[in-house]
Assembly symmetry: C2
């Protein structure tokens, strides 16, 4: 489980505040996740997520103390951008990034829970579709939704996907799923905390692209 | 016709050799062409083409004299990369870039020639499909082809597209088409010369993505 377990997300403190540096370090290991999907069709998605991370990192690097937590980024930028906010800066980048993270989280959770299409047990379309419907679909216009449907056909087989996630290690499918469950603990908590923060800060937007 | 006419491609010399610097300067004005298509769906295409240009420019900048013409780039890189070539370096970037340029050329030519779907005279799907079929389709696997079909639905109306191309100037449709024809003269000659060079140098590949 090189890809996931070696780079687990940190446990959240009681305040649920997410430390920017730790978050950025952990999250940078995720774009290769899209390589596990096996097709170049997913390259634009990886690029979009990488773009989000780069943007947040640039803001953080400009003043690490000021932007120590994700919470602080939203608060400081709210002051900087005025009425443009939250559709600006690292606040916007994190708004979209969290949706990609939620997509990954739901996909992995669905696999860990053993959800599958009984007629096509080695396909993960049903898991990907669930993740897409819950994390992204409402933010996509009908054309991007159609593009998604076409891209879905490039999804790998379940067995190949699990093997790719365990890259570099010989593990049984059951071990791989156990690793996923382990990874999901802190990851899910982090994603949930970010979503909660956007709600509390009234920073969520629902325009679609 | 700000977008196209202000940044015409240079006339080719009798040798048909394309000067790298002039080519790069002219071609950098083309990615905004994809913004004229009006939808963010086309952003990954723009990014791909921008990536090609960046890669060629980096090679050129590393030694402007050595890489003075596109021809020289292919010759020098053939020596550098050995059996990896032509799937390497600026040779690969230009191989793909020329397909995007051919796509643009055929699309504009088809518009200039007045080709249209008589049942939907204000749609440009027929022109885009023609350009795609001739320039790109064979290099795309069936899934990317399906993605293309979905993305095609995001194509703008003919009138909006022509207006976008003339950005910043009030021109009649006839003037706009005349400008396109004018732009196409040197542009087509340049694209043709690059294709001919890939044939002569035996540098063309036909793998699909
Ligand atoms: C030759 C034929 C070619 C035809 C061309 C077809 C092109 C197809 C287009 C596909 C779209 C690629 C995905 C990218 C979508 C993006 O448009 C959206 C919004 O992107 C955000 O936009 C903001 C401004 O509104 C800022 O720029 C953000 O940037 S900022 O950092 O500057 O603030 C940016 O992330 N991100 C998204 O929807 C996020 C996507 C996450 C995806 C998660 C997984 C999905 C997995 C699917 C598996 C099946
Ligand atoms: C949430 C849902 C999201 C689902 C995700 C969907 C994603 C959809 C995927 C769309 C593909 C985007 C277009 C990019 C395609 C690219 O894959 C190809 C090959 O790209 C080349 O690959 C090489 C290696 O083989 C090098 O890396 C080249 O890079 S190098 O510089 O490093 O050498 C690179 O350009 N370029 C192409 O096919 C070129 C495309 C030109 C397009 C011209 C116009 C078409 C207009 C269409 C109008 C309707």
């Amino acid at each position: 489980m090189a890809l996931l377990l070696d780079n687990q997300f940190a446990q959240l403190p009681n305040t649920n505040e997410v430390t920017t540096k730790e978050f950025l370090d952990s999250v940078s290991y995720l774009p290769p996740f899209f390589d596990c999907l096996g097709s170049k069709v997913f390259a634009p998605i990886k690029a979009d997520i990488n773009g989000n991370i780069t943007k947040i990192r640039a803001v953080y690097d400009s003043d690490p103390a000021k932007y120590e937590t994700l919470q602080k980024i939203l608060e400081v930028e709210k002051g900087i951008y005025g009425s443009e906010w939250p559709k600006a800066g690292a606040t916007l980048a994190l708004m979209w990034l969290k949706r990609g993270l939620r997509f990954i989280q739901i996909l992995l959770q669905s696999l860990a829970d053993g959800e599958r299409d009984e007629n096509n047990p080695n396909l993960i379309r049903v898991n990907i579709t669930k993740a897409y419907d819950q994390a992204l679909k409402r933010y996509h216009g009908w054309i991007v939704q159609k593009v998604f449907k076409a891209a879905l056909l490039a999804a790998p087989y379940r067995s190949d996907f699990l093997k790719a996630l365990s890259k570099g290690q010989e593990v049984t499918e059951e071990d791989c799923l156990a690793n996923i469950r382990q990874f999901l603990v802190n990851f899910t908590a982090t994603v949930d905390a970010i979503y909660a923060m956007y709600t509390v800060m009234n920073a969520e937007l629902d325009y679609s692209v």
